[in-house]
């Protein structure tokens, strides 16, 4: 009679494995997945509802960094604090399709806080129209000076010529 060494080895393994396999016929993942889906469905509307009253905007280094796409077209204002916190720009779309910009500056006890970069701000703060008006005025003045200069020069030459003639 031959002894099969594998017989004794295989049987315990099968008997040990089977209960385990039977136990996994109940798949807990089957129940967990739908629960997760339901949880996601429940949390998504909450997140959307929570986003509505929140502030919209981002930090910017200068006003020109703000693009119209940064401002929502639902009438809500978007806030853009400057990185050095010297100004806060608030932009919103008007009903007529124009974009309004409000600039808020920091103040303490009703007084506007002066910053080191005030001179720079003044330079930047001049609008293009104001600069153009100044430049037009300067051009006008320089033109007038040219006219005066031209009107004076021939007389001066004539008078010097006369003087030369007198001298001879």
């Amino acid at each position: 009679m031959q002894i099969n060494p594998y017989q004794t080895y295989q049987q315990p393994a099968m008997t040990n494995f089977n209960p385990g396999f039977n136990a996994y016929q109940y798949n807990p993942m089957q129940n967990v997945q739908p629960q997760r889906m339901i949880q996601q469905e429940q949390t998504q509307p909450q997140q959307q509802a929570a986003q509505q009253p929140g502030m919209i905007g981002r930090m910017v280094s200068k006003m020109e960094d703000i693009v119209p796409n940064d401002v929502p077209m639902n009438g809500m204002p978007a806030f853009f604090p400057k990185q050095d916190l010297t100004e806060i720009y608030v932009k919103l779309w008007n009903n007529d399709g124009t974009l309004s910009t409000f600039v808020f500056k920091p103040s303490q006890n009703g007084e506007v806080i002066n910053n080191k970069c005030d001179d720079k701000k003044l330079e930047i703060g001049l609008s293009e129209d104001a600069t153009r008006a100044f430049m037009d005025r300067f051009d006008d003045l320089s033109n007038r000076l040219d006219v005066i200069e031209k009107s004076i020069k021939p007389k001066g030459r004539a008078s010097t010529a006369k003087k030369d003639g007198d001298g001879e």
């Binding site: 119209p68 796409n69 077209m73 639902n74 009903n95 007529d96 399709g97 124009t98 974009l99």
Partner: protein, 76 residues
């Protein structure tokens, strides 16, 4: 069912407006409401002005973009 009833009873323009106004994103949006109001009144010049203003703010040539849009829809 409700849609079918609307189709039977209402005008197409009215149906479209009702459907648009039911969308909370539009009904709570003052800009969209202004546009719808203009459309209902037939103020097409106002709508065009709105489009021109938006194009100007975004740095887009309105006339050029509108021509492209019409070409896409083959309205020419």
């Amino acid at each position: 069912m409700e849609f079918l009833q609307m189709m039977k009873n209402g005008k197409p323009q009215q149906i479209a407006m009702n459907m648009i106004n039911r969308n909370p994103q539009i009904s709570n949006n003052p800009i969209a409401q202004n546009l719808i109001g203009m459309a209902q009144k037939g103020d097409y010049k106002g709508i065009e002005e709105f489009g021109r203003n938006i194009a100007k703010e975004r740095g887009v040539d309105f006339d050029k973009s509108f021509e492209e849009f019409k070409n896409q829809l083959q309205l020419k």
